[in-house]
Symmetry: C2
Subunit: 497 residues, 2 copies
Amino acid sequence: MSSSMNDSIKHDSREGFHWTKKDGLKRGLPSSSVIQPGTNLQAHNNVYDTTIIGAGYTGLTAARDLTTSGLSVLLLEARDRIGGRTWTSTINGHQYELGGQYVHWGQPNLWRELSRYSMQQDIDACLDPTGGPNISTVLTKEGLKSMSKEENAAIMDSAFQKFINIDGDLGKSIMPLPYDPTLVSEAVHLDELTLKDRINQIQQDLEPLERTILEGLLLSLTGGKLETTGFFGVLVLWALCAYSLDCLVRAAAAFKLRRGQSDFARRFFQEALDSQKLSYAFNCPVASVKDRVGQIEVITKDGLHFWTKRVICTVPLNVLSSIYFDPPVRELSDDVLAGINSNQSTKLHVITSSGALSSWDGLTYPHNRLVHASGEGTTSWGDSHLVCFGASYNHIDPEDNIEETLAAVKIFHQDIDVKSMVFHDWSKDEYSKGGWCSYTATAATKYLGKLRASRGKVILASSDWALGWRGFIDGAIEEGTRAAFTVKTELAKEPKA
Amino acid sequence: MSSSMNDSIKHDSREGFHWTKKDGLKRGLPSSSVIQPGTNLQAHNNVYDTTIIGAGYTGLTAARDLTTSGLSVLLLEARDRIGGRTWTSTINGHQYELGGQYVHWGQPNLWRELSRYSMQQDIDACLDPTGGPNISTVLTKEGLKSMSKEENAAIMDSAFQKFINIDGDLGKSIMPLPYDPTLVSEAVHLDELTLKDRINQIQQDLEPLERTILEGLLLSLTGGKLETTGFFGVLVLWALCAYSLDCLVRAAAAFKLRRGQSDFARRFFQEALDSQKLSYAFNCPVASVKDRVGQIEVITKDGLHFWTKRVICTVPLNVLSSIYFDPPVRELSDDVLAGINSNQSTKLHVITSSGALSSWDGLTYPHNRLVHASGEGTTSWGDSHLVCFGASYNHIDPEDNIEETLAAVKIFHQDIDVKSMVFHDWSKDEYSKGGWCSYTATAATKYLGKLRASRGKVILASSDWALGWRGFIDGAIEEGTRAAFTVKTELAKEPKA
């Protein structure tokens, strides 16, 4: 699939928002993630080998792996597009990642797929300190403090090392194998700690500026809240990233796809479609999944009924309770599900006149409803592109509070003159109800095993309960791969119909 | 496939050597990598979709990916086993990795496969400093110098940082994207440097002990020779490993598979076999590959003829010239091929009485024909298991020089009492003619593109010309994945027979 082909297949999604000075707020963004026609379903009496609920990276990976193995797949997606919490809009030739964005060879499942599609060279740095002024600002009680990025990184590194050094060995002793919870039994009690608990343990060692920068970083990483988000997930991420903050920043927040995530996601979809084993329907939320002895019945909110041998349900944690399962997923009640993901974050793209902020970054936590912003280069017409993040802490919904959002952006830097904003409000999105997954304290110990457990012919698969890069695109692909392999292995044992 | 199943399917390979005090040197080792029956070929008049030459990880990955996509594959292997330069022997219940060994989540293609087979938790640390005495020894002119592993690591880290700091930014500026040679045009001239050239540039900054430890590390990493092995490959590996020696050591030499590499390799083979699309023959070296307009003819050394639409040739660089290609691979003459891989290394497992050396490590370079040794734990009967590495420098072939090999092992530590040795002599192996691939200086610039280039219906695929973890298992899987995807995509465009 060539780049130009992708450009020509852009359609309008009803999702996302675009605000401009001239036209105000408009709902809907153009994106190559919108698939048309929206369904290829025909009169169907057949039983699908597998029905996959959700066309994010988990569902796309599973759909591709199963269809190319010769199994028939029905892919049902509530949205009008692929990608789930990851999608790209291109407006006036400029690219915006509305959700998941970052890629790196340290994310193994993601990188394997980029490698398979020969895209290892199609990546760009998000932050290029050589591309403009090398300035970091931090809003303190005394006003805006300016420093070089290296100075900021040194403070951040020092503070983070104090934070993560739970074993006197920077986590290396207590978390040698981040993928193996059973090997870190000494670490399990750490799951009781919130971010705040851990900060309290080391607060006497933190200078005020260190503490502000550390807390801002933790909120940007987790999208959460210091009082509820767990320390454990940060420790796992740290171990995944070679016990180095430099590596963590590179692996989790430094590189993006040149042609955008939706171009990448389309490759999975197209490969599945090319197999001629994929049936799909967008705009098709699922109401219930019922095990009818021998087969599963899947009923959509519009009243369509489908029969299938297996179901892979990939909807996020925060909306898992919107589907009625029979038999029920008892141990995961609505209360439980609502309490696991602490991430109610905001990601906001801002275009500001003048290119002077293209490589700046700034922290306004805790004095603002947005936490952190950074320049991500220059548009073709010479403006700066900023990406701002808010968290659950002091959460803001931009679509309901445009004036307040504009004011929050201005707090970052007096030179910001907002010409336009692009965003997806994940908290108010009924199919995500929050951002990427960041477990509250104790949730990993209590629920990770249950979420991953086998439940007969229904498999729950999502980045939200991946073993490794939980909450990341990598975790989604990890889970889609696992689910497809499980189904393929199980169905191979059954007599052919 | 359960562990016990694997244990029960162990057969004797004719490869590898076992030396014991009692019985001397014996050729052949038991291994689950030996597949029986050795062929499933029946009378064949059909044209295979793809013929794969070589059943190492590249060939196994390609065979699995293609067969599970419904394509017919003929897998031809010269050896009596799968795995190529990676295989495991279990003797008296103790496991020996004869070649490739190390696994880590920083190796993305490898890790994706471990993840897909749900093996992320089946890994063990090779080196456990908590498991025994924490001692590193270095042989100097003044005698054996003893230090803690931390002291040794600190010297190594300091020396390596001087070595790798080619841009004043520890390589981060000059090599931001190790997978993208086109993005590091500023780095291309570095490919002219040998390891020795680079050491000469910094020699005034190196203490004698730093230099010895650095050179020993470089020889262990590359299996090469300071005067010929290129600096560039080490820089790429460094960039892949987060610009951190701690990360590099963890990612490249610290963890192994609990049930061994051959158990892992068998999963690929078994999955391909289960697809019922795999034909295979072991003990079946290929003589020639001839493009006969429309189809390819593959002729084995035993005179068997096969017809196929595509060929994926996975034999290593050093034996590529043993196959006659028509049309020829002109730009890669025998002279060229012989000059690319500088690795003629030795890997030697040693069992020594007493468990006192289970966590020791030692360096005897340049005063010995072996470079480096380290304890890899204790056998179930209480002996220490040591792994010794030699390089191209002062190369030794153990099978021809048992007495000298025993003497070389003794030089590491006076307490070593060799009870047995297990090894595979990769240099004398006609199907490898050397170790894992380490390019000579200038080879990456001159030949990497040519080795990776499209050549019609024949694809050359090997870890020896992978983009990322070149020479590693990860690179083999990267290449097998690429080759299978290429073939699948191309054949989908052709009219079905």
